[in-house]
Amino acid sequence: MTTTNITISRNSLSGANFKEAIDLGLVCAAFDQQVNLIFVGDGLYNLVSNQSIANLKDKNHVDILKGIEFYDIENIFVEQESLCSKNLKLEKLIDSVEVKSAAEILELNLNADNLVSF
C-alpha cells in the first residue's frame, strides 16, 4: 500500500492552501493510499475548534475535517513541539488528532512513499 504524508505548516488564513492540501489527501485516500495529515508550526491553527468566521464571509475551514475518517483518512497528527511553541492546548483542537513528537514525525516521513507539503 502506498503511504502519502501531507504536511501542513501554514495557517488557515493562507487562502486556499488548507483546502487544496485536504483535497489532495481525499483523492489519494480514494485511490487506496494510506494518508497521514501532519500539522506543524502555524498549520496547527487550522485545527482550533472554536473558530468563528460569522462576520468574515469566509468558509469555515475546520468543517472540512469533520467526518474525514469516513473518507478513509484516519490519521491526523500534530507535532508536540509545535503545540508547545504556540502555547496551544490539545483540548483547544478538534477531536481525533493525535500528538507525535518531531522524532516520530521524522520516522513517519522516512517510511512514507510520497511527501507533499503545504
Binding site: L24, V27, F31, V116, S117
Partner: protein, 132 residues
C-alpha cells in the same frame, strides 16, 4: 531498473524560481535516463498555464519554456482543474459552461483532475518530486 519521477509544481511562477528549477531538473533527469511519468501543476503553479500572461521580453517566458520542454520531450503538462478554475485559468469548455468572457488555457497544458496525480503516486516504483 528504470527510475521514474512524477514532477509536482505548486509554486507560483512569479514568487519563486521553482519553475526554472523544475525545467532544468526534468531536462537533466531525462538525460540520465529517468522516466518522467507525469508533470502536474497544482496550487499557484497552475498560473503558468495562462496563455494571456505577457511578461516583458527580457524576463523568462515560462509558459513558452514549458511548451518547448513538453514538445521536445513529448511530456504532457497537466494542470489541476479545480486549482485552475479557482485562479482564473479556464478552458474553452468551462468558459462556455459558465458564460465567461473568454478562455485562457495555454494550448500546451491539459486540464486534469487530482485523480491523475493520485493514480501516478500510487504506482510503487515512482518518486514524487515537489517544486514549491
Amino acid at each position: 531498473m528504470t527510475k521514474e519521477f512524477i514532477i509536482l509544481v505548486s509554486a507560483s511562477p512569479l514568487k519563486t524560481q521553482s519553475h526554472l528549477t523544475a525545467i532544468r531538473y526534468i531536462e537533466e533527469s531525462i538525460k540520465q535516463s529517468v522516466l518522467i511519468r507525469a508533470v502536474f501543476f497544482y496550487q499557484d503553479g497552475v498560473l503558468v498555464a495562462n496563455k494571456l500572461s505577457a511578461p516583458p521580453s527580457d524576463e523568462p517566458q515560462l509558459s513558452a519554456l514549458w511548451q518547448d520542454l513538453s514538445e521536445s520531450k513529448s511530456l504532457e503538462l497537466q494542470t489541476c482543474v479545480a486549482a485552475s478554475y479557482r485562479r482564473g485559468i479556464v478552458d474553452e469548455h468551462e468558459a462556455k459552461e459558465r458564460e465567461l468572457l473568454s478562455h485562457n488555457l495555454h494550448p500546451s497544458f491539459k486540464m486534469t483532475g487530482l485523480g491523475q496525480l493520485a493514480a501516478a503516486m500510487s504506482s510503487p516504483r515512482v518518486k514524487l518530486v515537489h517544486f514549491k
